[in-house]
Amino acid sequence: MRVSFTVNGRRQEADDVWEGESLLYVLRERLGLPGSKNACEQGECGSCTVRLDGVPVCSCLVAAGQAEGREIVTVEGLADFARQRSEHTGCATGACNSVGGDGISLDEAQRWAAKGQDSQTGEGAELSPVQQAFIDAGAVQCGFCTPGLLIAADEMLERNPNPTDADIREALSGNLCRCTGYEKIMDAVRLAAARQSEAV
């Protein structure tokens, strides 16, 4: 079957989709967006977390056909999504993504990488505040869990700009990291929250 939906602000179509296929598989294998990671395939690890109509979900548990006509944001589009959100002040739902801007193309998204032309990781490439905070706090080790954590952390900060540590832990409780022991991840989200409140 064919699935038509919006990914990172642009209309996309995937053909020859098997009816039992997950949204995660369509994103990775049919659209060539490997940012969302495939690990447990049972919703335990959160590494495949994307926004589905603004809501963080495990894309491995969304049937491809359920994404028909919906709006998806993946880690590849997170910087663009965050930028548009900040330009549309007063929009806290994330729905503004479809209103302003024209999203990013599949080609751009496929080539997206958090490395710039400079010697410093992150410089020269557009990053969302939460992505920059993860780099600055040293919250990335092997990086496998990072995309899911970024989507989940970004959505929490959108809802709750001044989270307590308990709020952060709860919001990230569906994302497993086997490297960091979570402390640097906590630091990163605290840093992103602090920078966000300074900017306001």
């Binding site: 009816e19 039992g20 548990l61 049937a63 056909g65 409780s173």
Partner: protein
């Protein structure tokens, strides 16, 4: 495999009547796991996410009519006052991502003895609104679970909603697992005080082939509270009463040994949770009762 995408409830019922083997999918948090792991290859998937009313609830009257697909997140955020036991249970479901998708309809459809909603539904008192092209019926929650992952639905029926009695007193939910997030219950316990009828109801999860009530424990406690005038005098629960209640709740279990825990551990833990949830709810009831008396 065929992917059926009804745009309305009527279309969904027609599709289910035409294809009784179709597997309904809403949040997908059970169904997709089975498909991803190749445990299940249904001929038809029946996507219910286009049907808006399944995600809505009505809180008028004596009960809440909770749409089958209302996500746990919405229950936690919006129905804490009307359905405190279910809201607490919802909060223990997996993780935010799963709570954003999963709902009570799926929990009932899967009918796993470990489903987190079941003890709360049993304790509060609920009816499952099942519908087919033949008509609609209300299945009392006590008759709904028929075996391990089996329920009373006919092949052509879908769950439209669950009607759950609004709380008329304190409710609690307790669950044993290795951490606070992302765990299937080793066992779970729900308890609801119903001061209007002067009864207590319970629900036990993951400690028998189906979710069950501890009926003998309820009868014992109802009689003990009545005899001692506890509902009126608001005294603390006598330790011997709490202990006997816990023992009877343990006895209501029929657990197995599995990877998550042994049968004897489950029996023990259910007793501990029964005593604790009774104490918590009763203390809350006494507090409320004391305040009411103070005002009057």
């Amino acid at each position: 495999m065929d992917f059926l995408r009804p745009a309305s409830w009527e279309e969904a019922l027609a599709a289910k009547a035409e294809h009784p083997t179709a597997v309904p999918i809403a949040g997908g948090t059970d169904v997709m796991v089975e498909i991803n792991f190749d445990h299940r290859r249904p001929e038809y998937l029946l996507d219910l996410t286009r049907i808006g009313e399944l995600g809505e609830w009505e809180a008028g009257g004596e009960s809440v009519r909770l749409g089958a697909s209302v996500p746990y997140t919405r229950i936690m955020e919006n129905l804490r006052r009307e359905l405190p036991g279910l809201a607490l249970a919802s909060h223990t479901v997996a993780s935010p991502q799963i709570r954003n998708r999963g709902g009570v309809g799926g929990n009932l459809g899967t009918a796993s003895p470990a489903g987190d909603a079941h003890p709360a539904l049993l304790a509060a008192g609920a009816e499952v609104e099942a519908e087919s092209v033949r008509g609609s019926r209300l299945i009392p929650i006590d008759d709904f679970y028929t075996g391990v992952k089996r329920n009373a639905l006919a092949p052509d029926e879908l769950i439209r909603a669950v009607r759950i009695k609004k709380a008329d007193g304190p409710q609690q939910f307790s669950k044993v697992g290795t951490r606070n997030a992302m765990v299937i219950a080793v066992c779970a316990f729900g308890l609801a005080l119903h001061p209007e009828t002067r009864t207590v109801r319970t629900g036990i999860g993951s400690a028998a082939p189906t979710p069950v009530r501890a009926r003998a424990a309820e009868e014992f406690l109802n009689a003990a509270l009545d005899e001692g005038g506890f509902w009126d005098n608001g005294k603390i629960i006598t330790p011997s009463v709490a202990k006997q209640f816990a023992t009877l709740c343990s006895a209501a279990c029929n657990p197995i040994d599995d990877v998550r825990g042994t049968a004897s551990y489950r029996r023990h833990a259910v007793g501990v949770m029964a005593r604790r949830t009774l104490t918590w709810t009763w203390e809350s009831y006494r507090g409320t009762a004391a305040r009411t008396e103070g005002v009057a």
